[in-house]
């Protein structure tokens, strides 16, 4: 069961939204609706299911309805039609007091303009969600202090928000949201108001915290780089409708329409794409126990200059034909020359210097060291600059493919 299940959400803003719902469902466009009736179409037929523990990014330009959408999850905005289920329960059916309980315990929110309480100290800001629940001030402050420490603001508790920089204020915002220990964290353009360096810092902080906490995070942004960096999955919103959802690489490598393609055009692909996107799997591999003669025959028969040698699932290195001709031992073990390797999660940008420095093949392994394949130079070039035709020459330096 999905943690958050949004289905068939329509939102029409205006004095009489219900009256225009049918027309919109039949396909009346946003512009026509506005011209006909003065109503604004906020969201149309949005369906999303967000799994427990994932960091789900909803992205779109301003006016795309992303901030409206995230406010449906905690019902700061009610939909015109559709349903929103959290842990299977339709939150639209909740009574006011049940809704308040849901907001207090199950979810919390981080805001673009921080929205801290200017009249409260930093510590009391962080403790706010707890004191609202009725926890006494002293205990709430103890918990709040822990969270201040987690976000790197120990010692700032007695100051007021306006005494802190933007980045620090948003750390307070994050700590305030985490202090109630909610399952779900709603982040509405949380880092958009920060300058790039601080934004990066906050992204790192969020990812670090998420590794420990495994919250279900819904993150809104207009910044694709941020979306690709943070998101386990990304949904792209345009004029209130979803245009594509998928994991970051999906979005980047197979945009479903021109709108998305336009979006991803200027993305730094080297940062988003990982080594496992440019894998070339060897047709076959040799083992350290294989005899030299067998290996030589096999390689000459297939016309290979060199071959991959494994020991179990782990990469041992490569052997070249010339090495084998000079070999004296019976098995391959002593003829193997080591090669450099990278993790499959390494981004392409970090691979580039190595690829340029020397032409030796680079192996790709899992976190635990198991061999998965080789870095394909032609794929790297194709993915990083898709517009350029692939140079035949590039494939000549490739290992077994």
């Amino acid at each position: 069961m999905a943690k958050i299940d949004i289905s068939g959400i329509y939102k029409i803003f205006g004095p009489n939204p219900k009256r225009h719902l049918q027309a919109v469902k039949k396909g009346l466009s946003k512009d026509d609706l506005l011209a006909d009736s003065g109503h604004t179409l906020g969201l149309q037929d949005v369906n999303l299911s967000i799994e427990e523990g994932e960091l789900f990014v909803i992205m779109g330009l301003s006016g795309s309805g992303k901030s409206t959408l995230i406010r449906h999850i905690n019902r700061l905005i009610d939909p015109t039609s559709g349903s929103i289920r959290i842990d299977g329960e339709n939150v639209l059916n909740l009574r006011q007091d049940e809704l308040i309980q849901l907001r207090r315990h199950k979810m919390s929110m981080v805001f673009q303009r921080f929205a801290l309480f200017p009249h409260k100290t930093v510590l009391d800001n962080v403790a706010y969600g707890l004191t609202i629940q009725g926890i006494d001030k002293k205990n709430a402050r103890v918990i709040a202090n822990d969270w201040l420490e987690q976000v790197g603001l120990q010692g700032f508790g007695d100051q007021h928000p306006h005494e802190l920089s933007g980045g620090m204020q948003q750390r307070v915002g994050l700590a305030r949201a985490l202090a109630t220990n909610p399952d779900i964290l709603l982040m509405d353009e949380a880092f958009s108001a920060l300058d790039p360096l601080i934004r990066k810092e906050m992204q790192d902080l969020l990812m670090k915290l998420q590794q420990q906490l495994h919250k279900t995070i819904v993150f809104i942004t207009h910044d694709l780089d941020e979306a690709l960096r943070l998101g386990n999955r990304i949904a792209i919103l345009k004029d209130g409708a979803l245009v594509q959802q998928g994991d970051p690489q999906d979005i980047l490598l197979s945009p479903q329409n021109d709108y998305v393609a336009d979006f991803v055009k200027d993305v730094n692909r080297g940062k988003v794409l990982k080594a496992h996107h440019v894998l070339a799997k060897p047709v076959s591999t040799l083992n350290t126990d294989t005899t030299v003669t067998k290996a030589k025959d096999w390689m000459m028969r297939h016309g290979f200059d060199y071959a991959t040698v494994l020991e179990g699932n782990y990469l041992k290195g490569i052997v070249t034909l010339s090495n084998l001709h000079a070999a004296t031992q019976e098995t391959l073990r002593e003829s193997v020359s080591p090669v450099s390797s990278v993790l499959e999660s390494a981004d392409l940008e970090s691979l580039m210097p190595r690829m340029i420095r020397d032409t030796a093949p680079i192996a790709v392994t899992t976190d635990t060291g198991e061999f998965v394949g080789w870095v394909s130079r032609s794929k790297v070039i194709r993915l990083i600059s898709p517009a350029q035709a692939v140079d035949r020459e590039a494939s000549l330096t490739e290992p077994v493919e």
């Binding site: 308040i100 907001r103 315990h105 929110m109 929205a115 200017p118 706010y128 609202i132 928000p161 306006h162």
Partner: protein
């Protein structure tokens, strides 16, 4: 050319007179009884101020000034102003007026802030209340002195009520405005964390509206002071009465000295409430 007579002005007047007379017959007694606690309150404040030694009163005001502003200059200023009132021989009347001001202000707070809060919460109530406030502020005070006197008789209570009616509108307006001006995103945050309406009002809206409410209190005190002379016409004692006597008897000196004492009180109230309002302002700069 004369405007054609559509309604008979005489009978219209008589109708209103009759209505008010009936009101007096029906309700004057019960209203007077209802206002009894107000009178007791006012009298006891007056007694306290007049019976206390003058230096204790000055010391108490100095302490209030200190807690309001945390500035020594203001404490010294307040002390000098009070000494001035004493030196020009207006101490006792000054205390009577001060008592009236304090009680009027307290009553304005009791009435004004809840009404302002209601206005900010309900659009419908606001639509009804705004024109009433307009009337209260534009109607010449003499006009409603008449029915007030008829209902409550001459004396302290009608003077107090007239003062409240005249002085409370700015407090109501600024309470309403202050709450409406509270940053929308801060309110959204409170809602998102599951605050109830009451928690939002007491924990967020009122504290953040406080600088505006203080500005309202400042305005209300100033207006209450400006009612002192008018109120003395229907029985408020104190400095206003002295000014009135000065006018009636053409004694410039009498009127001027009392008038100066009123000015001294006005400066005192104004500076203390303003300084307190300013001190509340500082956290507001944040978050923007």
């Amino acid at each position: 050319m004369a405007f054609p007579e559509i309604l008979d002005a005489r009978s219209l007047r008589q109708g209103i007179d009759g209505f008010v007379n009936q009101l007096v017959i029906d309700y004057a007694d019960s209203l007077e009884r209802l206002s009894q606690p107000l009178l007791t309150f006012l009298v006891s404040v007056e007694q306290l101020l007049r019976n206390s030694p003058w230096y204790l009163v000055i010391a108490a005001l100095a302490v209030v000034a200190w807690f309001g502003s945390r500035r020594w200059t203001l404490v010294v200023g307040v002390t000098l102003l009070m000494l001035f009132i004493g030196i020009i021989g207006q101490w006792d009347r000054g205390m009577q007026t001060l008592a009236l001001m304090i009680v009027a202000l307290i009553m304005c707070l009791v009435v004004g802030i809840p009404v302002g809060v209601l206005m900010s919460l309900s659009e419908r109530f606001r639509k009804i209340a705004l024109p009433i406030l307009d009337v209260m502020q534009t109607m010449p005070s003499f006009v409603y002195l008449i029915p007030v006197v008829m209902l409550f008789g001459l004396g302290k209570v009608p003077a107090l009520i007239a003062t409240i009616v005249y002085a409370v509108p700015p407090l109501i307006r600024l309470t309403d405005l202050g709450i409406r001006l509270v940053d929308h995103s801060v309110m959204e945050a409170a809602t998102a964390f599951g605050a109830t309406r009451r928690q939002k009002l007491l924990g967020v809206q009122l504290p953040l509206a406080l600088p505006n409410i203080m500005a309202g209190i400042n305005q209300t005190t100033m207006m209450a002071l400006s009612m002192v002379v008018v109120a003395s016409m229907i029985g408020a004692r104190g400095l206003g009465q002295e000014v009135l006597a000065g006018i009636n008897r053409l004694e410039v000196g009498r009127g001027l000295l009392a008038g100066l004492a009123i000015v001294a009180l006005a400066i005192l109230f104004d500076r203390v409430t303003q300084a307190y309002g300013k001190r509340l302002q500082y956290p507001k700069q944040g978050d923007k």
